[in-house]
């Protein structure tokens, strides 16, 4: 499992390095993810250590996210006028996205099967 963590940290480090060296607008961890993905495609399989290490981290995501999420309760008065916009974007935006994607994928799928 630790060897898996080492791979993940190594990819992140390489990603952060590339971001700074090439002045990319992408976040370092995302570049690291793309690097690891390319590596897996070239290798053709997932090493056991990497499988268990990444599985553990992904399972723990709710724990890692609780502290940043708790900040919502401490935004202060400065954010008070932003709540309507926040709620509109999250509720209406999500419903619109689901309907839009549903209609689009059904259309594409039907066209695909007719060809």
């Amino acid at each position: 499992m630790l060897a898996g963590f080492l791979t993940l940290l190594g990819c992140q480090l390489a990603g952060e390095f590339m971001q700074r060296a090439l002045d990319l607008p992408l976040p370092g961890p995302v570049i690291g993810m793309l690097l690891l993905f390319c590596g897996l495609c070239i290798r053709g399989s997932v090493p056991k250590d990497l499988e268990s290490g990444s599985q553990k981290l992904i399972e723990l995501l709710p724990l890692l996210l609780m502290a940043p999420a708790a900040g919502v309760f401490f935004l202060g008065a400065g954010f008070a006028d932003q709540w309507p916009a926040f709620i509109a974007a999250v509720s209406l935006g999500t419903v619109c996205t689901l309907v839009f994607c549903g209609l689009l994928i059904r259309f594409l799928q039907r066209r695909n099967s007719h060809l």
Partner: protein, 231 residues
Amino acid sequence: MSDLLHGPLFAITLTLLAYQGAMFLYLGSGRAAILHPTISGASFIALALILLGKDYHAYYHNIDWLTFLLGPATVALAVPLYRQLHLLRNMAGPLLITVTVGAIFASASALILAWLFGANQSTLLSLTTKSITTPIAIAVTQDIGGITTIAVASVILTGVVGITTITWLFTKLDIQDDRLWGFCLGLAAHAIGTSRAFERSPVAGAFSSLALCLTGAFTAVFVPFAARWIF
């Protein structure tokens, strides 16, 4: 005595306690979306901090090493993406077009609605990533100068809205194919949607997690470029 309350030991104990309590509630309720562990755990932490009269920023500073793990967790998402890649066979065209157009639609619709309701620039920046999985959303938001907390809250609430409305919406639209159902839910509602899709069927779950990974990767690439250009 009171110095104990200010150190990392207290902060991490509180966080783990909140996590255990949140998981207990979530599993006990049969995985009710509104009791998602991130929501109930965060509420528990906030309540404890308010009752103890403690400063949120001091608490956050004490567990920043835990938040640090979000970096490697983002990299780890390459593994499920690689695992689900075979699902693209036969349906690559429709799926890839839907991900590209749908991910842009998810960000753009959030931005337009928020702008109509009077959002300021930092709120807008924090809402662009609402449809992608949280670790990637945090990485992108920090990079483009949004507020991490708003980004996390919008991602999680988006997931909750997605899984509470999809059954009704897709029955109305008459979309019952598990592959399309799961894919749209993973696209719009990331990991929360994916866990709901797995409850429907393993096929819906697999397509949902493919959509989650593709949307995350694609949004992470286009949002920073778009943000540089728009703001």
